[in-house]
């Protein structure tokens, strides 16, 4: 029951009608892409997978929002979408750089993933350093009695009138995994867009791919950031406020976010690829 007496909104299961509508949108987007430029179907699938990965990864990131800033709830004291975007974009920076230097697909997406994971590892470490060294508050989860990884007991370390505080080890690990998956998804989207734009824009403008490269890189970068924000915000809506990490009961909502992000990415992917569609590719 909500405070207003109505039924609590937002369950953990999948809404079948919504899921079917979503799958139809994905199929229509794929079909439209195939009709307008058959070679762009692979980049669009990459974008859909990347978007779903971002939505999945965001759920791992322990975000406490405003209550965490007062030591009232565990997690990092900032917004879900923005923290995930910060980590994922740091990953995108590394992935794009690696792709420029090596041109290897696997190294680049893993480079992006590690970039996101490293950003989250440093951030989570500094959050714990602040709680422990500056505020004298030990880490305690409010959602589980014991840490699923280390077996540490939490209830006795939870101060009175709070839901826990700081970042228990499971939340730290969740943050690193979340940053890694989000960085991987963002870099995957960037590389797929870049390859589509490099060949597409060269055909469209009748120029050499080398001449078109700066424009393709910038466009792919801007669109990749846009995709990142779309998917991170969608995942944040699914989380509704705060989440402690993979051990939080809210984590069970993740299939909904994966489908939602895949649908949004499919449609946004179609829009972003329209630029180079129907030009005889």
């Amino acid at each position: 029951m909500s405070a207003l007496g109505g039924a609590a909104a937002g369950g953990e299961g999948l809404n079948m009608t919504g899921t079917i509508v979503g799958i139809v949108i994905i199929l229509v987007s794929l079909g439209a892409t195939y009709m307008l430029g058959a070679s762009l179907i692979v980049p669009l699938i990459g974008i859909i997978v990347g978007g779903a990965l971002i939505g999945f990864g965001v759920h791992f990131v322990p975000v406490g929002g405003a209550p965490a800033a007062m030591g009232q709830a565990p997690g990092i004291a900032t917004g879900v979408a923005m923290l995930a975007a910060g980590a994922g974009l740091a990953g995108l920076f590394g992935g794009a750089w690696a792709f420029e230097a090596t041109g290897d697909f696997l190294i680049s997406i893993l480079g992006g993933a590690i970039g996101g994971g490293l950003m989250m590892a440093i951030t989570c470490l500094m959050v714990n350093a602040t709680y422990v060294f500056a505020m004298g508050i030990p880490a305690a989860s409010g959602k589980v009695a014991r840490d699923p990884i280390t077996g540490d007991s939490f209830p006795e370390y939870k101060s009175q009138g709070t839901e826990g505080h700081g970042l228990p080890f499971i939340s730290f690990v969740g943050g690193v995994i979340g940053g890694t998956i989000a960085g991987l998804g963002g870099t995957l989207i960037y590389i797929e867009l870049l390859e589509a734009y490099q060949t597409g824009l060269a055909t469209l403008m009748q120029a050499e791919p080398e001449v078109i490269a700066p424009l393709a890189v910038s466009l792919a970068g801007i669109f990749a950031i846009g995709f990142f924000l779309v998917n991170a915000v969608l995942a944040a809506y699914n989380i509704t406020g705060t989440i402690e990490g993979p051990h939080d009961p809210k984590f069970k909502r993740v299939p909904r976010a994966v489908i939602g992000c895949a649908v949004a990415s499919a449609f946004c992917g179609l829009i972003s690829l329209l630029l180079v569609m129907n030009i005889g590719m």
Binding site: G86, F93, T130
Partner: protein, 299 residues
Amino acid sequence: MEEIVLGIGITALAGALATVAGAAEDTESDIGSQGDPNSQVQLAPQMGYIHRIFNKAVSGEPPAYGLWCAIGAGVAWAFLQLNYNPALAIILGSIVAVFIQGIYCTSGYLGRTASLAKFKQPVYIDIIKSLTSVTMAHAFVAIFCTTAMCYLMATALHHPFALPLLGLIWGIALGAAGSATGNPFYGKERQYQTQKFGAGVPISASGNIVRYAEAGQRSSLDNGWFTTKFAGPASGICFGLIVFLELWRTVLFEKMVAGWGAVIAGVILILIFTFIDRWIEKWGRRTYGPYTEAEEASS
């Protein structure tokens, strides 16, 4: 070899710029009350606690700094295209960005505070006059350092992204690092200074922020003075480490192990930070001890 040495030098300089940017960003957000703790500044008058704290949460810190750094880097890029000296171009870009930040601050304070009129919270004109320029000064340092760092990445390290795009990415990362590290210190340690040290703020105390200083009412300048003792430098270290290590692992190791060097170095760094974090977590529990007995808590 020369290229690597130059790369390491640029990496160190970018890391130093990022450290200053992180510290300035957090101090700006604490003086201006931009981050999540501002929820309490907004809540206080609704609970009957009238205060003189600046209240300008324009948006979350990451999108706000993403915007300001992208504007700074974008304007600097435009001046660079006109063959301006890079230092002058970055300064001019930062000045334009900081004026936009000032406009957001002013409208943010007026709008947010005016919305509290029914709770008798006055709009203090002297707060706008005295504090907006202080937040602008700190924001200038943060934007200038971030834009300069992005310029180094784009020109000396040859990152493929254009300067404005780098400004957007690192602005968002700057806000994320600064708000994650700095917010708890400002929110718990400063706003709720009267609550017990070493414990979270009980939810029942929400809104009852500290409103008085040694003499007279507390000003947001006092909050900046306090948070520069820990939150500012910690945020600086956080963002500095992120930038430095991200560049360092790429510049030094990218060409090793058939291109896998940077990935392997990143994994090793993550493992090192994981061990340090675990040590800090255990040290905290061991040093401060439990609040209640384990049996009592589990009953």
